[in-house]
Symmetry: C2
Subunit: 509 residues, 2 copies
């Protein structure tokens, strides 16, 4: 169909030209679809938006870069036609039919994803298809390899390069804040990248950002790691395995988490950053991603096998994730708690210290900095003697934060409430997802000071008048909303206390 | 996250508010994602677009209706948060896991689709999941029923109401142009709605539009049918089973065509329009949707069973679809050929007359207008005696077209070429998809006058100098492009002729 060009000074992500609804219907395309645009013999493939105010039926609105790319003049006649599907669409269809991807298929697919040639619907179809029909180790390897190759890669000069990854879903799992400085303090290199929270209350990147900037390029991560031994950066700011961010962005709203994609997601980032000795922390228990130990062991085996193909040594730590790690949930609260642990404060929760030192211990053994079975002890020592704290401050400084910061300086949400037990009893269950929901209602992770502290966990006794929960928010109405939500669904089961009769919250002094 | 409102006089389909890329990232959302917008205590769920020019990081661009819906003032502070997923997302996830949809699940899902509460990615996940895991008859029934109930329905006063549907994929399948007037001429009612071409060269709606307007509401279709017995309307302009248009819009770019969705698509429209006696034309053969007879029989049985649940009587006609029906492919060319057949012109292709009368014959028998085995003969009679042509002109007139039109008046693309056989041979194979591709390259279906005529089919002898193919286009460069494409991939296999040595095209006199 021939249309008159109308250039529009507007840039909308994922849409390069605008058609009227009538014109889109006539062309058989709709918002987000792919079309071919031909001007002066040059054709490009692009995506459309549909607007009822920007263009007339005989016009095509030309946005942003496209105008320059095709040197389009105002009022020029342009040919717009539905575009052929990229090759990946037929390989996705092939997976829907139950067939295996070839190496070439996955290379093309990942390339198309990174170059934004696939629509979200096409990526959703891919993720759904592999959720049902799976991928074998070959396919997972090819996928991972393509994800590595379509982004930046760091080439460290010396090995080993240590790394860790925790499978998400456990609130309060701020162990990287302790592990990275412990490992770096031991003289090993650990260029750790983390994600922001997507479904959670605080990702490691969200937490670290309370203390220092976290946006660095691969080159900067390389430099920082060489300089101080470790970093705590946000993976999303790098161009390391950029396909992963796109896959995650599509799979998350669909509540999909296909296993091969999880494996590729973790290992593509680690491979690209140059790590060759990695611990994977796999929390199991109610409400975690991996609900039982059998499944956790299978996942661990898959990680090890896939790691082998990349010459990466992997050990797995199957941990208990049915209850939060430490007390704090939310970016600033967790940054504070992590810092308290590094400072050796006696209020630092034992569960955080134990888990961090266990995982760090494995890494110390893998990196030959501790004898077998001695890693955890060594990790504890590096915590106790202040070396880890010192290293952490170096990392904060080199990342551009204030190394003088102490746990007491951290600002928490000003609107607070606490909840005390109206009578005695003991905790029989903790609802992780419920806690995350409360923290998010309070404003986490976007409001850094928002979140909660949980003082009682499964098996703990609760005495009348004892503190159970503290809420923090940056805005009054969010605190109110969270209180309402808690009254409806209390995230703890406490035997002996009628939670429906829970008294009003108290202000925190 | 709290943002300052900036109202923007712009309406983009599927996007109600605009965030900067940085803000979207901080919120953990991207283009097309769902967010909650809270202003003055009122919260609505909506979708975001991402722009690098329209808004600053602390702003939220408020488009079109949202501004009025929430009575948002310029510079007002608005809370924007990632939104909870609608319930349908968890039922789709459930289907991914291999479970069955409940009646309630499908009702909610179809409602969410019609009310635009689901993103294209979510609909894509649904379509992919049912492509792999299927749906049983219960589920298909619930789906169909929900699709009927979420749109307009026609309640005819008298029965039977006849209808037909052809499973697509066969080029030139213009039989509805003959069947509708034949059935209406016999005194039966047939409120036929059709689609536009999506992957094809011309849908019945595209073809009929050459002769008369095709956009009518359900009420208008009801009225037209009561007035003249039949209509040839575009289903997409009605609000009949509107969910179907959305499903088709998403499944088409994915090359998906899940069987339960096909069943529901056809029968929801027929049920809503009030039809109770239907013939389903199921073409089989190379390149059709249903490649073999066994599969066609299974599909026919599924249609009959599903029809039973709605008290719709269904007969199926399993036809040969390996080669085009008639010669003409493309809207105006097909309108001309259909009209020629109704006019009784001797050039009217036999394949078109035979297929149309066979299917019309079944309908005449079902509607008690012909004795068993006599339907086809009766159909032919109504064609020969001019009653069908007379009825067709009535339909054209009542739809707002010119009833005086004859096949010779129809305007075809002005840029033409023909191809003659360089030596003798015979046709061993016709590539339907190849023909459709050529017609689309020539400009069909958007350019009404574009398309082709194919004079030789499987089994036909070709003599030296005989006409094989004629091309029509409204634009010179499209003709040139089509010629190039034909030289690369000739859509016929002709034994005895070296097609690679095919001589240049000739101008059509």
């Amino acid at each position: 169909m021939k249309l008159v060009a109308k250039t529009i000074d507007l840039k909308i992500k994922g849409e390069d030209i605008i058609l009227s609804e009538e014109t889109a219907t006539r062309l058989g395309v709709s918002s987000g679809d792919r079309v071919n645009l031909t001007s002066k013999g040059k054709t490009i493939s692009t995506f459309i938006g549909v607007s009822s105010t920007l263009v007339e039926d005989d016009e095509v609105g030309v946005l942003g870069d496209i105008k320059e790319d095709l040197k389009i003049n105002e009022k020029e006649e342009i040919e717009v036609r539905p575009s052929k599907k990229p090759k990946s669409v037929s390989s996705i269809k092939n997976k829907v039919l139950g067939n295996k991807f070839t190496k070439e298929d996955l290379k093309t697919l990942v390339n198309d994803v990174v170059n934004e040639k696939l629509t979200n619907s096409e990526i959703a179809a891919y993720l759904t298809a592999i959720s049902i029909n799976g991928m074998d180790l070959d396919e997972t390897y090819w996928l991972t390899k393509s994800m590595v190759e379509t982004g930046d890669q760091i080439d460290f000069e010396e090995f080993p390069i240590m790394d860790k990854h925790s499978i998400g879903g456990v609130p309060g799992n701020k162990i990287s804040l302790l592990i990275v400085p412990i490992i770096a303090a031991a003289g090993l290199k650990i260029p750790k990248t983390s994600s922001r929270a997507i479904t959670g209350a605080a990702g490691t990147a969200d937490i670290m950002e309370v203390l220092a900037p976290v946006k660095f390029s691969a080159e900067q991560i390389h430099k920082i790691t060489n300089e101080v031994g470790g970093t705590l950066a946000w993976g999303g700011a790098t161009n390391i395995a950029p396909a992963d961010d796109i896959f995650v962005r599509v799979e998350h709203p669909l509540s999909l988490d296909p296993r091969p994609q999880l494996l590729a997601s973790v290992l593509s980032k680690k491979k690209a950053i140059g790590s060759d000795k990695i611990v994977i922390d796999i929390p199991t228990g109610d409400g975690t991603k991996v609900e039982n130990k059998e499944e956790a062991k299978k996942l661990a085996r898959d990680f090890i096998e896939l790691g082998n193909r990349f010459e990466i040594e992997i050990e797995s730590a199957i941990t208990y994730g049915g209850t939060p790690i430490g007390h704090a949930i939310g970016p600033a609260l967790e940054a504070q708690e992590g810092l308290m642990a590094l400072e050796g404060k006696k209020e630092a929760p034992k569960s955080l210290l134990e888990k961090s030192c266990s995982v760090a211990g494995i890494l110390l053994e893998m990196g030959d900095k501790a004898d077998e079975e001695e890693g955890k002890k060594k990790a504890k020592k590096l915590l106790k003697n202040g070396k880890a704290l010192e290293k952490f401050k170096e990392i904060i400084e080199v990342q551009g934060g204030d190394p003088q910061i102490s746990s007491q300086d951290i600002e928490l949400g000003a609107f607070r409430k606490k909840l005390v037990a109206p009578s005695s009893g003991y905790v029989t269950n903790v609802d992780n997802q419920g806690l995350i929901k409360i923290a998010r209602t309070l404003g986490a992770p976007a409001d850094k000071g928002a979140g909660l502290r949980l003082y009682k966990k499964e098996g703990d006794e609760v005495e009348e008048g004892e503190k159970i929960l503290e809420l923090f928010s940056e805005e009054k109405w969010k605190l109110k909303e969270a209180k309402k939500s808690i009254k409806k669904n209390f995230p703890l089961d406490v035997e002996g206390i009628l939670l429906k009769r829970m008294p009003e919250f108290e202000d925190i002094q």
